[in-house]
Amino acid sequence: PRLSLPFAVGQCGNQVGCRFWDLALREHAAVNKKGIYDEALSSFFRNVDTRSGGDGPDIYRGKICSLKARALLIDMEEGVVNEILQGPLRDVFDSKQLITDVSGSGNNWAVGHKLYGCQYRENIVEKLRKTAEHCDCLQCFFIIHSMGGGTGSGLGTFVLNLLEDEFPEVYRFVTSVYPSGEDDVITSPYNSVLAMKELNDHADCVLPIENESLFDIVNKIHQMINSGKLGSTVKQNSLVTSSAGSAKTVQEKPFDAMNNIVANLLLNLTSSARFEGSLNMDLNEISMNLVPFPRLHYLVSSLTPLYTLADVNVPSRRLDQMFSDAFSRDHQLIQADPKHSLYLACALLVRGNVQVSDLRRNIERLKPSLHFVSWNQEGWKTGLCSVPPVGHSHSLLALANNTCVKPTFIELKDRFMKLYKKKAHLHHYLHIDGMEQDCFSEAILSLSDLIEEYDELDATKGGPRTDPPRLKIAV
């Protein structure tokens, strides 16, 4: 089977991962009525014969026996992973896929990257090879993590390096949750910038996510439900609200709803690789089309409809409205303003009963209000997948390579410099074996260079367009 192999690293990574597998199971259950283990399922799950108790051999065809997620769950604390193993997904994972420790990384990138990295390298490689053994084609790796902490950030980027060493040809996609300005982890700027350097150098594609955006989206959904507008009704077992007062549940499990959104992103991203459609879009195609220069691989994602995430019965919006929504800031997973910045490339992955004429019409309609770089005026990558998400007739995922990510990086750099100038908390990092002052200066340099690359592109915006002269042929 063709595999996309997710790695959930750290607390955030594993919480998102948990939501991802839950949604993936639901999605496949809705499509796969006959209970046959098919190609689509095999991209994320193994089929294991557990009839004789315990872990039997893998079954490659026929009826579904017991589905096990193809994944590695890594955390240097046990809390989150243990919760997963005691929860409804406990049968989806087995101990061979887990790598845990007890003391955590103390929100310290160096502990995650240098200390635990070194310590667990062999273990990770071994488990990785075992998992990869079962498939004939490894298409890509997904790393799900946060940037601000210690494990997800440090060990997560260590894994990234490791993947490049061991499997250089397999694409590396990273879903990174960036800390907000009011993050309660003081050292999150250090962790993030140190991690950024690794992402710059070793990731093929990064989908940055900001908690603020996720929070806003969850609130919006809330408002829609509570205001009773659009005749919306709440489905049972909704993750966003309970049958009683809605606010209560949000406070209890604020991150679940937000994590759902990220999980949906991954589900939609891989849908065309799993299900059929008239214009397939594989993950390696996403990397090919959206990354014009190696380091400019940060993509702004937006999802619509948002109600897929809330188990809410809302009458489907008009198809064209869906496209407009995808280009509205409300639907983005990071705080950025693509409409006033420069598009380098844009991908649209549509699911459901949508045809090529719908795509063309909407691209024509939206194009005039967007600024594309001079050498990619018609830079659209499109995909049509026939299978919509559960409970909806269609959905759209937009991925944009746009210079609007620059302010996010500049802010990050500023927060880093505030701490670094005062040498605040540096000693916590420097006393870790393998960690030197150079690591910090290299990391900030890498970030500055990246910002400069975006600057250079921005400078071309709105300028006069002179096409380069064509080759002349002697007649």
């Binding site: 084609c137 214009l279 594989d282 390696n284 014009p292 220069f293 004429s357 024509e364 080759l471």
Partner: protein, 453 residues
């Protein structure tokens, strides 16, 4: 003589399937509006050309299906089998898992060499099943990675392995507002490479077919399936049997050979455009009648004015005055937008086509000065109606039809190349900047040649 079809990539396989469908539905499902004997001859000629009737109950298409990911081939095979009228040979396909990532270099430099033996073995098997091999027909899009890159490589292999066989490449031009961001790079690389190994490139543009679907077929929500079915109809109108000689007694057997002979007199000029009229929704067919003179008149003006379909033709465009005695291409002032031809082929299907007057297609002013107009024009006919159309006329033209689209694609690719965007994705798989420059040079040469006609 039989033709072996090679379907490459998602587009190639989706279209290939519709082509065999169209051909089959033409011989089974539609009245020929001719004598029983005529119908039988037509049927036999078509079967020989495209199908193999071995031990199976239904005819087996002479085709090899190639793709670098499994979903499309699997769908194509099962759809064909379900039709009940024809199917593919269950073993005549090759696919991998990881796809080509829209990367021409990946298709050409990695997948090509890696899988050359297996693919060529499948082709060889199909070729051996033919009593007489009439050549190869490959279907691919230029925009992606497999059809384009692997397609270019396979075409080269076909040329090497079958040096005397004819190779016709059917190439799909992507929507100009983009399906794939690097489509212009992929297109430039594909066209320049195909030009070296192929005998002719028969082109369909998605934008044009889309318009036909919208304006002539009245389809509201156009899907790729709709587009592919129009393309299949147009291809069928060229590929189905015809009498190629005036007063011929038998259906011509050598489709590809005769196509090349009539349309490609010079290796510098290989770009063929296709027009087919009339085109309309199936439920309107019963209410429409056409006259041959009317159809011919429209087709000729479509040629002259480079119209893509029978609506919106610019009737103002006229051919230039008598050719001056000085054979210099710059002295004849050709009016703007006038489409100069090298060679044209008109195919007429339906009754009473014997009496059709095609003299105006032989007008020397339509053609470039360096060819004898008598040689530049040919007509193939059959009284047997095609695919429910009582009368159907097609034009296959080697002319300036594709000059503007080609120039556009090269221009956009060059623009992107100047900024070096995406080049690292290609060099990663062994296609260097010099390779790009070679391709650009080759295509600028083709553009220049067509421009000064």
């Amino acid at each position: 003589m039989s033709i072996v079809t090679v379907q490459l990539g998602q587009c190639g396989n989706q279209i290939g399937h519709e082509v065999f469908n169209a051909i089959c539905s033409d011989i089974h499902g539609t009245p020929g509006l001719c004598s029983k004997k005529e119908n039988e001859s037509y049927h036999d000629a078509c079967k020989e050309r495209f199908f193999c009737e071995e031990e199976s109950e239904v005819p087996v298409a002479r085709a090899v299906l190639v793709d670098m990911e499994p979903k499309v081939i699997s769908q194509t095979l099962s759809l064909a089998a379900r039709s009940g009228y024809w199917k593919y040979d269950d073993r005549s396909h090759f696919c991998q898992k990881q796809g080509s990532g829209n990367n021409w270099a990946n298709g050409y430099s990695v997948h090509g060499p890696r899988h050359k033996e297996v693919i060529m073995n499948l082709v060889q098997k199909e070729a051996e099943k033919c009593d007489r091999l009439g050549g190869f027909f490959t279907i691919m899009s230029m925009a992606g990675g497999t059809g384009s890159g692997l397609g270019a490589f396979v075409t080269q292999c076909l040329r090497d392995a079958f040096p005397t066989s004819f190779i016709l490449n059917h190439v799909i031009w992507p929507y100009s507002t983009g399906e794939v961001i690097v489509q212009n790079y992929n297109s430039v690389l594909t066209l320049s490479h195909l030009y070296q190994s192929s005998d002719a490139l028969l082109v369909h543009e998605n934008d044009v077919i889309h318009k036909i679907c919208a304006q002539l077929m009245n389809i509201k929500q156009i899907s790729f399936r709709d587009v592919n079915q129009v393309i299949a109809h147009q291809l069928g109108s060229v590929f189905q049997p015809t009498y190629t000689a005036e007063g011929g007694l038998h259906y011509s057997r050598n489709l590809l050979g005769e196509l090349m002979e009539t349309l490609v007199p010079h290796p510098e000029f290989k770009m063929l455009g296709l027009r087919n009229i009339p085109q309309m929704p199936e439920n309107s067919l019963a209410y429409s009648t056409f006259s041959w003179p009317g159809l011919i008149k429209h087709l000729r003006q479509m040629l002259i004015a480079n119209a893509k379909m029978e609506e919106g033709i610019d009737w103002q465009v006229r051919p230039p005055g008598p050719v001056s005695s000085i054979p210099s291409s710059h002295s004849t002032k050709k009016p703007l937008h006038f489409n100069t031809s090298i060679a044209n082929l008109v195919i007429l299907r339906g009754k009473d086509m014997h009496s059709v007057d095609l003299e105006r297609f032989r007008d020397p002013s339509l053609y470039t000065s360096w060819l004898n107009p008598q040689d530049a024009f040919n007509a193939w006919k059959t009284p047997r109606a095609f695919n429910k159309y009582e009368k159907s006329a097609s034009l296959v033209s080697n002319s300036q039809f594709l000059l503007k689209p080609l120039d556009n694609v090269v221009g956009k690719a060059w623009n992107m190349f100047a900024s070096k965007a995406y080049i690292h994705q290609y060099t990663k798989f062994g296609i260097e900047e010099e390779d790009f420059l070679d391709s650009f040079t080759a295509l600028e040469q083709v553009i220049s040649s067509y421009t000064i006609l």
